[in-house]
Amino acid sequence: MTLSLVERLHRLAAIWGPSGREHKVAEVIREMITPYVDEVSTDKFGNLIATKRGTAGGKRVMLAAHMDTIGAVALNVSDKGLIYMAPVGGFKAHHAIGQRVVWGSGVVGVLQHEPADDAKDVDFRKLWCDIGATSKEEALENIRLGDMCVMTGELQQMGDAMVGPALDDRAGCAVLLEVAEHLGACAHDVVFAFTCQGEIGPRGAGAAAWSIDPALAFVIDVASAGDVPKGPRVDVKLGGGPALKLKDGSYMAHQGLTDMVRQVAMDGVIPVQTEIVASPGGHNDAQVVAVAGQGVATAVIDIPARYRGTAAEMVHVRDLHATADLLMRLLGSPLEY
């Protein structure tokens, strides 16, 4: 049964998978992508690599999206059975307060913080997870130190907006699956890389790029939109189309490749926004893909998102489809730049 992009996103956003613990996500994506590709494997880092061989004379193209989400790792349990944690990736303490989480074991909990009058006093060290245990022993029967939790929440559609946890970067994963299904015959070898540890480092994408050894790569991630009060100073709007990243704190776009993406988008009448992130902000898989092996020409095509790092990240359905369309147009082009 084929699923729509939105249906796939519903399924992907519900899977537990913080950085370093992406195996459940990989399992589902493997099942979803297998009908559309020639080869699927998991590398030593845990990256899921799916290859759709080209018809003839094409290039080797890597499409990457990271599978992991932010979360928290258990470091200590108090005598009262409260779990103290450290963030995994950019999980901010003030986004955590009051959130429900689920641990790898399936145990659910709620995050709460000591009373703080000032936002500056909010700190992960004063934040705990209550899983309903009444003693240290009881808590440790349910979770182990080193276990990780992620925020839970239902993915909901509000008009054309999709709201829920984990859209960074399950939205990118869903777009890649859409491309895999609808691409059809293509001259290029297309290698889909669903990567690990994109929220920290990033790390997995570099290992994936090393073994894939592509001629060029497109990294599909989500970008913070700037269209909210006192939002990030980025000229990217929700619903305005995919955002072509020119730079962030760790990446400079490949000029020729970027120009080509812009041209292909223009030819296809696909709106493209320009994303420029001031240093030192921003991290994405491209920073390690671009320097892997002998170096890889890499473009970042981001899906605009509001409220990143919360349990209610927001993306726009039109942007998801436009990103998939742009990728398919690119793969249908000679990819000369």
Partner: protein, 342 residues
Amino acid sequence: MLLERLSNACGISGREDEVRDLLKQELAPYADDMWTDAIGNLIVRKGNGPVKVMLDAHMDEVGFVVGAITSEGYIKLKKIGGLDDRVLPGRQVWVTQKRIPGVLGAKAWHLTTAEERGKAIPFDQMYVEIGCKNREEVEALGVELGEPVYFATTFERFGEKVVKGKAFDDRAGCTIIATILEQFSYPGLTLYGAFVTQEEVGLRGARVAAYNLNPDVALALEGTGSANAVGVDPADTISNMGEGPALTLMDGSAIPNLRVWEELVRLAAANGIPYQFRRIVGGGTDSGGIALQRAGIPVCTVAVPCRYIHTNAAMLNLDDLNAAVALVNQFLLSVEKGDFRP
């Protein structure tokens, strides 16, 4: 004991020669092959089996280099690796590999203001004095810019179990690997002891070693902080000296490979080897450099708790060191038998 000789040896990042020579001499009788690579890593191979395992420990220690020599004969220092200014003034040091004795001096206590007394002396106000009256006298002793400066610490035993010395980070790890190579054989493995360089300045040697050796699985053996001491909240002790080797949950450089980590936990529990978790996520170890090589290498850090790490006098408990050896041995046996397939 080997830890004593390794601790007394001197080798800041990039100047690991003395440590490397000692390990070469020590391990020559047990090695099937041994070489030094382009970045100075000493690789000791034992066995020729089908599964390649790399045990990593870094040879370098934190310390200083001579940054300037003043016309009055004082030596200004630059730090190599992370060092806490609060614990530096007044320390005895050794200048250059020749171990010229010196003292880390600062403004005399009776000249300080009340405000200055409540604060750590800024590093740029410290200097080393070696009893010379001018630059010419200093230079005549062979002290040049870039020459290493070390804490003048000699290894000692504190009773039966606890030892004190400098550079337990990471001569403890070097000792674990050397002990494994000396005491055990694993014909089913190609075991590489990788004694690497320049960890303290950016996990550099380990990257090169892991890239070249391309192991199926690796362990980084380390010394890590331990603060189960006076006035520290039990939640903040990082690891507890005397309670077994610490397995990293996550640090600033790596999340351990989940399967390797779970196998280590399983083996420790099954064999009655005491262990604990490192309860802090800061800092980095060679695992971070190893994990990212080529198509990715499964790796986990196992660390011996060390109090006062990165100071002139660290302490560790020999039971923790021995338990780490036992755990690494069990892991290697498990890989050799095929119980754990990387």
